[in-house]
């Protein structure tokens, strides 16, 4: 597996991570070594094997459709840098 600059750019964009151009070759080399490792999977004969979704084949548990959470607005606001009258204040990033 050989990665190109454009692959790294695309992955960085999808991941919302910034990769400096100066780091591209180092990032590329390390990702390629990991992808070479995981490419060993391609040699496995998995024809007809059902992909495993859960170790115990459990299905999604359902609960009654009723409210179980209570309002903890004040407790959660403590985590924010800045609040005003029940609103979270964030930097202006959209015009």
């Amino acid at each position: 597996m050989t990665l190109k600059y454009t692959d790294i750019e695309r992955l960085a964009m999808l991941s919302r991570l910034a990769v400096n151009e100066t780091d591209y070759s180092a990032v590329c080399a390390r990702l390629e070594s990991v992808l070479a490792l995981v490419d060993q999977l391609q040699a496995a004969d998995t024809a007809g094997v059902q992909p495993m979704a859960h170790p115990l084949n459990a299905s999604q548990a359902l609960r009654a459709d009723r409210i179980t959470e209570f309002n903890q607005q004040q407790a959660f606001e403590i985590l924010s840098d800045n609040t005003h009258e029940g609103l979270y204040l964030v930097p202006k990033v959209i015009d």
Partner: protein
């Protein structure tokens, strides 16, 4: 007091040989003395620990206390603790103070255990050496030039250095067992779903499982009994009664069939580690167990499958850290895209970013079937290997790690070399089986571990076998020099 087992400490508290406050002060003093060098703890909660200890002493006086009441413990900094910073050893959560307790924390607090603080770890549990922590690496108490293992390196090192009799930990690919092995302590990763993941910061949700680290299998049995149980807040929690793990510790192991997978003793395994493991197996045979040669033919697929599934799940789980709602936020973002990108790039460390990129690649359009689906098929084959093995044997055993503890920086430039550190532990997570590591010898003055793998929900049997071995071997009682 720090040399005593949890059972002995519990007896001492009841006999009023010492109080929980005295015990707590003793361990806090050890933390103050040794932690600056070891870096095993990120946060020390001395003040609240003494308040909890006084409450425990009152409960003990009333005579209605749980067996674990008044015993100090540490929580891995991946478990949310109400009012106490929970950083996951990341700059991203450096300022995160959860408004709630994880179920594991809640369960152990209900017994009256006393939290001394939060342990250091690899960032977001991604690592096998503790070198990826934002707070700096933990040192192995047996040789401070060497790694303690990871990701629960702080928990293992703290118990090994006798800074606490117990610590919680988590295991996604070996993160309880590998550091337990390298630090000479005992640790058990239960069956997937046995311990609630609610309030445990997610790395790879289909693999993550919490468990205890302590000096002995007996201590682990007491702790696991309190940690485990159904939790409706975790949809993967299994609704099944929790056995009394302590009650079966002294059962005979006469006739027990131990499967020895030949793939776990192939090239790559340090000969000295192999000998320590073989010596333990010989002792188990002398105790009446039968050793059975078995094969796990798809073992070689474990590491490749894991490094698709775990990063894929991590890339999805860590998408929530965007600099908007909580966690680290970059300075002066110029637009929304810049806010996301710089907050994540500045907030995450290199290994976390690498795994997000790998996971994103494996899940991206055109690659899903080739990687993720293929890995989930390999996972089914790995589980099938174990299912067939457990038709013939009761428990599977082998080394926990291929080598003893290595020096800091030895594998820093080669992620694949680091990933192979978990070559014997990863299959257990992929199959959802319980796994355990107990000390089985010293190589170059540092400990190595024996791994036990049980059938689903067979934790009681594994703890029984481990306890029986610890009755006739000295390794669990050894402690690093210079930390008396």
């Amino acid at each position: 007091m720090h040399d005593m087992s949890i059972a002995e400490l519990a007896l001492g508290l009841r006999a009023k040989t010492f109080s929980s406050r005295e015990l707590t002060e003793h361990f806090l003093a050890r933390i103050g003395r040794f932690n600056p060098d070891l870096n095993a703890l990120i946060t020390v909660t001395g003040e609240s620990a003494l308040v909890s200890a006084d409450a425990a002493d009152k409960q003990l006086k009333n005579g209605l206390a749980h067996d674990l009441c008044g015993i100090p413990l540490l929580h891995k900094d991946i478990f949310c603790t109400r009012g106490t910073r929970t950083s996951c050893a990341s700059k991203m959560l450096h300022n995160f103070i959860p408004p709630y307790d994880a179920t594991v924390v809640e369960n152990l607090a209900q017994t009256g255990m006393v939290m001394l603080g939060k342990t250091n770890m690899d960032e977001f549990a991604m690592g096998s050496s503790n070198e990826t922590s934002f707070y700096g690496a933990v040192k192995n108490p047996w040789d401070t030039a060497k790694v303690p293992g990871g990701s629960s390196g702080g928990s293992a090192a703290a118990v090994a250095a006798r800074l606490s009799p117990a610590a919680t930990a988590t295991d996604t690919g070996g993160s309880i067992r590998q550091p337990a092995a390298l630090c000479g302590v005992s640790g058990i990763k239960p069956t997937y779903g046995r311990v609630s993941r609610w309030g445990m910061i997610a790395f790879a949700s289909s693999l993550d499982q919490g468990g205890p680290i302590a000096k002995t299998a007996q201590d682990c049995a007491l702790l696991l009994g309190a940690m485990a149980g159904f939790d409706s807040r975790d949809s993967t929690s299994v609704d099944r009664p929790v056995p009394n793990y302590h009650a079966s510790l002294n059962d005979s192991i006469q006739g027990l069939k131990i499967g020895i997978p030949r793939e776990y003793f192939s090239s790559g395994l340090d000969g000295r580690v192999a000998k320590a493991v073989q010596d333990s197996l010989t002792i188990l045979r002398e105790l009446g167990a039968e050793l059975v040669d078995i094969s796990l033919p798809n073992s070689h697929l474990s590491v490749p499958a894991y490094y698709v599934i775990a990063p894929a799940e991590a890339s999805a789980n860590l998408a929530r850290f965007d600099g908007v709602r909580y966690g680290y936020r970059c300075e002066n973002p110029k637009d929304l895209e810049d806010l996301y990108c710089r907050s994540r790039s500045e907030g995450f460390g290199e290994e976390v970013k690498r795994r997000i990129l790998i996971g994103t690649y494996c899940l991206s359009a055109g690659y899903y079937d080739a990687y993720y689906r293929k890995a989930q098929q390999a996972r089914a084959l790995i589980r099938q290997d174990f299912t067939q093995a457990f038709d013939k044997v009761d428990v599977v055993m082998g080394p926990t790690c291929p080598t003893p503890a290595f020096r800091f920086g030895a594998k820093g430039d080669d992620p694949v070399a680091m990933y192979l550190e978990d070559i014997y532990t990863i299959a257990t997570n992929l199959a959802g089986l319980p796994g355990m590591s107990i000390p089985c010898g010293l190589v170059d003055g540092t400990p190595v571990g024996l791994q036990l793998i049980g059938n689903y929900f067979a934790e009681a049997q594994m703890l029984n076998v481990a306890h029986q071995l610890q009755q006739v071997t000295p390794w669990h009682a050894l402690q690093p020099e210079g930390l008396i």
